[in-house]
């Protein structure tokens, strides 16, 4: 056990985590550079395309240090995005140390800090690494200063490296051996293995990535998942060599995988503890929680007939992403679909992308929303997933919505703009720190609902891409929220209702009716479109009645042409949804649902 080092890499998205990992594998001779490429591309097409590394597979490296001793280095990756904060914490829990990689040209970014704090809190040994020192614009001293200012770590002896050229990589390996403590644990105690990740394989079922804390695990052993009591006999235990390589057993301190013909990921949740069913541990490892969706949206097939295809695709997708939740939903406007829950916006995008790429499902996603908690006058508390779940305004005592603590790192010149942006979205100022004279960290608290609508894009455009952000959920807070209903020709059009803060009701109501005015075609009569809160109309616009639409000429040769034109017009009407006497094209619903409601 003394020769094992379990560590992870904490880095901002483009600070070179993958390249550094590649170098470590190469330097330890674990894999040739050619195979490396193939391996990474295979497993990460989607993430690579999006420029975001979500997760690398763990890998085990054999390393002979300068002291002549042989070591086993287990590199466990942490997801690089805030949506997966819980997964990050579980990955960290499987390690004794972390490389904190900072780009010498960029400095510390929000995400890095959040993960570094977490690692420190979990008692990991942090090894600062300054990367990209080969670049002309590299300022390693600034990076060191930022690390000590922001993260509070002594970075004076940080390793300087260039993952691109390979400079400093051997120093990193030596420091891993010398600085990161060997794992502790009792191989003879009852089994406690932490699931830090699990994936679904079509042939072998769920593969659990585990860190054995105490005891041993081997093929044939009867294991139990402590959160749900489900037991399975182990088919295979192994290590990541890379690739799945069976071993006789995994002992306390080791990192590896097990398979046990487990059918669904839901049975083997990240963070759960595996123990010996015949000799169970007295308690599970700390820190397990069931992941809860925080962002929701409706997925609808573009073609209504493709609903079963979408359902099958979601079922399959959930086999290897247990964090997605879905339940059938029907919208008058869009037919049958699903209300899906996600860990965050990126997670939502990834799922949508996977449905398209892996399952070939073309779908429409409605604008994302959060879950509200409504306290009724009677004291009863209901969860509202969509505007129609809200009780009548007179019954509502209080509405609570999820809040986040947001930290933004950026060059100081953008401070004013970013503050404006956050304040426009109901952010409450918490603190502002100059990390260096040129770089600022802003901390705000704001409603999650304001964050999920386009905030990241807006932030990026306001700061020319220089800002980075991180957030954590800090719980529910009471807000003065209202449901704004949209009436088309006096009839409520449920699909267009939305929830917002009462101070924004007018602006958003105005934006909504104006948008609809552009989407609803003129008809035989004037159509009032109103936004209302309860019975009170706050905005009204009119779609003017159609005045003239006649194609004048219609004699012998024109008749067929004319009929075809009318047929086409009629086909268009078929795809429309009637609200009262008004025909609304489906495209209008789609355009509206996908709309950015914050546009003023």
């Amino acid at each position: 056990m003394n020769s094992i080092r379990n560590f992870c890499i904490i880095a901002h998205i483009d600070h070179g985590k993958s390249t550094l990992a590649d170098r470590l594998l190469e330097s330890t001779g674990t894999i040739s550079s050619r195979d490396m490429k193939a391996q990474i591309l295979d497993s990460l097409t989607l993430e690579r395309e999006r420029g975001i590394t979500i997760k690398l597979v763990p890998v085990r490296m054999d390393y002979t240090a300068k002291d002549g001793r042989k070591y086993i280095l287990n590199l466990i990756d942490t997801p690089g995005h805030v949506d997966f904060a819980y997964e990050v914490s579980r990955s960290l829990a499987a390690c004794e140390g972390a490389l904190l990689v900072v780009d010498a040209t960029q400095g510390v970014e929000a995400q890095t800090v959040a993960n570094a704090y977490q690692a420190i809190e979990q008692g990991l040994e942090i090894l600062p690494v300054i990367n990209k020192i080969d670049l002309p614009s590299a300022r390693p001293d600034n990076a060191k200063q930022e690390i000590s200012e922001v993260v509070g770590l002594d970075a004076s002896d940080a390793v300087l490296t260039s993952a691109k050229t390979g400079e400093g990589v051997n120093d990193i390996l030596e420091r891993i051996v010398s600085d990161i403590p060997a794992p502790k644990g009792d191989p003879n105690a009852p089994l406690q293995a932490l699931i830090f990740d699990s994936v679904y394989d079509n042939y072998r079922g769920v593969i659990c990535y585990v860190r054995v804390m105490n005891g041993t695990i081997k093929a044939g052993q009867n294991i139990m998942f402590m959160s749900n009591g489900i037991t399975y006999p182990v088919n295979e235990a192994g290590v990541f060599k890379p690739g799945f390589t069976p071993v006789k057993e995994l002992q306390a301190g080791e990192v590896g995988y097990i398979t046990a013909s487990i059918k669904t990921l839901a049975e083997a949740q990240v963070g759960d503890t595996i123990t010996d069913a015949n000799n169970p541990a007295s308690s599970p490892l700390p820190g397990y929680k069931k992941v809860k969706s925080v962002v929701f949206c409706g997925f609808y097939p573009v073609e209504r007939d493709n609903y079963p295809q979408l359902r099958d695709a979601l079922e399959k997708l959930c086999l290897n992403d247990s964090a997605v939740t879905y339940e059938p939903e029907s919208s008058e406007a869009m037919g049958f679909g699903f209300r899906c829950g996600f860990l965050g916006l990126l997670h939502m995008d990834v799922v949508r992308e996977r449905l398209r790429e892996e399952y070939g499902v073309e779908l429409v996603a409605t604008a994302p929303n959060v879950i509200y908690e409504v306290v009724k006058q009677s004291g009863e508390i209901v969860e509202a997933h969509r505007p129609s779940d809200f009780p009548d305004a007179s019954e509502i005592a209080e509405i609570r919505e999820p809040y986040i603590r947001l930290s933004v790192f950026m060059p100081s010149e953008f401070t004013g703009r970013v503050m404006q942006l956050v304040q426009d979205r109901r952010g409450t100022y918490k603190s502002m720190d100059y990390i260096t004279p040129e770089r600022v960290r802003l901390v705000y608290e704001m409603p999650l609902s304001e964050f999920i609508v386009d905030f990241h894009d807006k932030l990026k455009s306001q700061t020319r891409g220089y800002a980075s952000l991180d957030y954590e959920l800090i719980g529910l807070r009471a807000s003065e929220l209202v449901r704004v209903d949209i009436l088309v020709n006096g009839e409520a059009a449920d699909a267009f209702s939305f929830i917002c803060h009462k101070d924004q009701a007018y602006n958003r109501g105005h934006a909504a009716v104006t948008k609809l005015k552009g989407l609803i075609p003129s008809q035989l009569f004037e159509i009032p479109i109103q936004a209302s809160i309860g019975r009170r109309v706050i905005v009204r616009v009119n779609v003017k009645a159609l005045r003239k639409d006649v194609l004048a000429k219609c004699y012998g040769g024109d008749i067929t042409r004319k009929r075809k034109l009318l047929e086409k017009q009629k086909e268009g009407k078929k795809r429309m949804k009637q609200i009262g006497k008004v025909s609304i094209p489906q495209e209008a619903f789609l355009a509206f649902m996908q709309a950015d409601m914050s546009e003023k």
Partner: protein, 336 residues
């Protein structure tokens, strides 16, 4: 056929061949005759003789109550007029389009307002009935110039057709004159025509046609009544017994004898189409035997679009402006 006068002889041959197909087994009696297609006046008098000989050879012209020839102001000669008069024609339909020179230029017409006035004068003094086409929503046109053209045409003509200039998105004028805006600009002109023409006794008897009662173009009415029509020439469309026959549009294909494409309407389709066509006219449709789905479609629409009597349903003035919407509603109801 403008610019292709050397091909007139072979066209006349092809026309004769086609006429023979219809009139081979005894002459079909004609009620109306319409020589159209833009510029039949490109034919010289001997060619006209040949054309009329063909028609008389295969059809019974003694039953004709109305015979019209289309003409352009720049190609209509006094000799054409006297030929038409001598050969039993009753009307000339003249493509005046506008009496404002700048508008005619914008339209790319070959005549100016003086030629148009002169041609109208000649037809009127010949005693033939004169129908004129006018165009509105021309770039640069104003209600004042529109009023000017209509008023002067009314002095000569007993029939006026008003067509909106509609630009297809690929037409060069479309982008030059702001496309959609221009196409949307027709409302005021059309509404004004609906106002001014009836005040001078030119009743609107169809979506785009105005005439004092008794001067309607009976030939065109037969299209809207689903009467049988035999049409000869390239891109001509005949309608016989519920079947449409459409000749190939190109002169080459027509001359080479390519068969017309056919389209047979089911009784239901016929009923719907007849309703839609009849609703273009001021007489509207008879309610006796009207498909119930059409009645329902109409009763679901705003009442100000229709003039409804116990016997008939016709479009109101506003209805005439919104015909496309109304007709597509009828088609929609007819399917549900």
């Amino acid at each position: 056929m403008a610019g292709q006068t050397e091909r007139v002889p072979s066209w006349l041959d092809a026309l004769k061949r086609e006429a023979a197909r219809y009139g081979g087994n005894g002459k079909i009696p004609l009620r109306t005759l319409y020589i159209g297609g833009g510029t039949p006046t490109v034919l010289d008098i001997p060619q006209w003789e040949q054309l009329m000989t063909t028609i008389r050879e295969y059809f019974d012209t003694s039953t004709i109550i109305e015979a019209t020839c289309e003409a352009n102001p720049n190609s209509l000669t006094p000799s054409h007029i006297s030929f038409l008069k001598d050969n039993g024609f009753t009307r000339i339909s003249l493509g005046v389009q506008s009496l404002i020179d700048s508008e005619l230029e914008t339209l790319g017409r070959l005549h100016d307002s003086v030629q148009a006035l002169r041609a109208m004068e000649r037809v009127k003094s010949s005693g033939l009935e004169l129908g004129c086409d006018l165009i509105f929503a021309i770039p640069g046109q104003t209600l004042r110039t529109w009023d000017y053209s209509m008023r002067h045409v009314m002095e000569y003509a007993s029939h006026i057709s008003c067509y909106q200039l509609t630009l297809e998105p690929d037409a060069p004028m479309y982008s030059r004159y702001g496309g959609d805006d221009l196409n949307g600009a027709g409302y005021a002109f059309y509404r004004y025509a609906q106002y001014i023409l009836p005040r001078h006794d030119f009743a609107q008897y169809e979506v785009s046609n105005f005439a004092p009662p008794g001067h309607e173009c009976r030939h065109n009415i037969s299209y809207w009544n689903h009467s049988d029509v035999i049409a000869l020439g390239p891109s001509a469309v005949s309608y016989i017994d519920g079947v449409r026959y459409a000749n190939p549009p190109s002169l080459d294909e027509y001359i080479s004898g390519i068969e017309p494409s056919t389209e047979e309407l089911s009784p239901h389709e016929r009923a719907i189409e007849l309703a839609i066509l009849s609703l273009r006219t001021k007489w509207g449709i008879s309610r006796a035997g009207l498909l119930p789905e059409i009645e329902r479609a109409i009763s679901d629409m705003p009442p100000d679009l229709f003039v409804i009597t116990p016997e008939r349903i016709a479009l109101s003035k506003r209805g005439m402006r919104l015909g496309n919407y109304i007709w597509s509603e009828i088609l929609f109801y007819a399917e549900h």
